[in-house]
């Protein structure tokens, strides 16, 4: 199984029936297609839609109907439209069960950096800072190391933060970590990955869940 596939299929298992979920731009968006339709999951788009449907057919494209990634989408039965303040009232007010976001770096205490590389690009944080503070649970999905092979799970983030101690769960192509007592804990190894490999490719200190220690 390819790395991205491992990340996506593990991330999917975070989503339970009846949840209200916000999927971030990029890789998290790819999870949408995989959610079983009988789950009754409502996907929130922070630009003002609760109940995102699949990409439309060519003849149903509507420029007034986009997701937060500015892609044309559709609405499902039961959908609702609202303004940006109400959208973030849902998010900041703790009404969204789960946010799944991409990451550039995660620290050993659950800090997240995913919006800015100083001097290199100016894009902005969009809704990410609100999501990590407001959603009931924040799951970050990312490759374990950079394209150059450098660790992305660091003792401390080197990039400007999106939020401090906000990552509840981190899913990479090699492993799954949960934030436990303010510290990353390795809770699962992805298929084909070893503890030794994870240690080598992780700069951060982390604890190891009892179930994995016995293995």
């Amino acid at each position: 199984m390819e790395g991205r596939e491992r990340i996506l299929s593990r991330a999917l298992s975070e989503i339970q029936a009846g949840m209200y979920v916000n999927l971030g731009i990029g890789m998290p968006t790819l999870i949408a297609d995989r959610i079983p339709s009988d789950f009754g999951v409502m996907l929130q788009s922070e630009n003002g839609l609760l109940g995102i449907g699949p990409y439309p057919n060519e003849n149903a494209i509507d420029p007034d109907l986009i997701n937060a990634g500015k892609e044309t989408v559709s609405e499902i039965p039961g959908a609702a439209y609202f303004d940006s303040a109400e959208s973030f009232a849902m998010i900041r007010g703790g009404h969204i069960d789960l946010a799944i976001l991409g990451g550039m770096e995660v620290s050993e205490t659950g800090d997240l950096a995913n919006w800015m590389i100083p001097g290199k690009m100016v894009k902005g944080m969009g809704g990410a800072m609100d999501l990590v503070q407001g959603a009931k649970r924040t799951v970050v999905i990312m490759d374990h190391v950079t394209k150059r092979g450098d660790p992305k799970i660091r003792k401390a983030c080197t990039l400007p933060l999106t939020g401090k101690a906000v990552v509840d769960c981190l899913i990479t192509d090699l492993a799954v970590f949960q934030l436990k007592d303010g510290q990353l804990q390795l809770t699962e190894l992805q298929p084909g990955s070893t503890l030794q490999d994870v240690r080598k490719k992780t700069e951060a200190d982390f604890t190891i869940a009892p179930a994995l220690q016995e293995a």
Binding site: S45, E46, N47, G48, L49, P54, Y55, P56, N57, E58, I61, D62, P63, D64, L65, I66, N67, A68, G69, K70, E71, T72, V73, E75, Y81, F82, D83, S84, A85, S87, F88, I91, R92, D111, G119, M121, V122, K123, G124, M125, G126, G127, A128, M129, D130, Q133, G134, P160, L161, T162, G163, K164, A165
Partner: protein, 230 residues
């Protein structure tokens, strides 16, 4: 009461050099495209623009950037615009990046007469620098100040002559917040119906927030990412 103006010029000519503008829209969805084109033509300069995004290189607010009419931009996400990055890195353009929810709430608060509020968004990040911190119920929050501006430029789907507005789908986004936070609010709309034709239960922006209405024709409504079912 009739707030409809036959030409957009009567709105554009009020907007002076150095004015602050709140502009509705998310990406290119729900942007006041006629007003932006009018501003480009007028050549008005030194604008402070508050808007979630800054258009793309050749459409929306990107047109004003290209013409160097904007000196300060307040936005949450500007990744779709190469010119923006150039002007920012060269120091030509002053930029304040604001988390999207904080931007929405600063506008909502501005329109509602609330000077500031506390939010957990941005705590522990560069956004918190220089801002008052307070702890409520054991959690740290930062103070964010509200935003108002000289003018709000909004785009609606339908209006009546007294200025009630209805938006369509995700083209609503920041528009109702902008409408309330502008000291003067100019709305461009796709259709005009007679007063009383809009269901009072379904109005998104009540007429009190709107000072002038222009009915546009031939909306381009450009799409940034055309994604279709496979």
């Amino acid at each position: 009461m009739n707030k409809v103006t036959p030409t957009i010029d009567s709105m554009i000519e009020q907007i002076h050099d150095g004015a602050s503008l709140i502009v509705g829209g998310f990406g290119l969805c729900g942007i006041p495209e006629k007003l932006i084109l009018g501003l480009r033509e007028s050549g008005v300069r030194d604008l402070t623009v508050i808007s979630n995004n800054c258009g793309v290189d050749d459409w929306g607010l990107g047109l004003l950037l290209e013409n160097k009419q904007i000196t300060k931009m307040v936005a949450s996400y500007v990744g779709e615009n190469k010119r923006f990055e150039q002007q920012f890195l060269s120091g030509e353009l002053e930029v304040e990046l604001v988390p999207q929810g904080t931007l929405a709430e600063r506008l909502r608060a501005g329109g509602a007469g609330i000077p500031a509020f506390y939010t957990a968004t941005g705590v522990g990040t560069p956004i918190a620098e220089g801002k008052e911190e307070r702890v409520f119920n054991g959690r740290t929050y930062i103070m964010e100040k509200s935003i108002t501006a000289d003018y709000a430029l909004v785009k609606a789907w339908a209006a009546d002559p007294i200025g009630n507005l209805v938006y369509r789908k995700t083209a609503r986004n920041f528009n109702p917040l902008a409408a309330a936070a502008g000291r003067k609010t100019f709305a461009e709309v796709e259709s005009l119906v007679h007063t009383g034709a809009l269901d009072p239960d379904q109005i998104h922006t009540p007429s009190v927030f709107v000072q002038s209405i222009f009915v546009g024709a031939g909306y381009e409504k450009r799409i940034e990412r055309r994604t279709v079912a496979r």
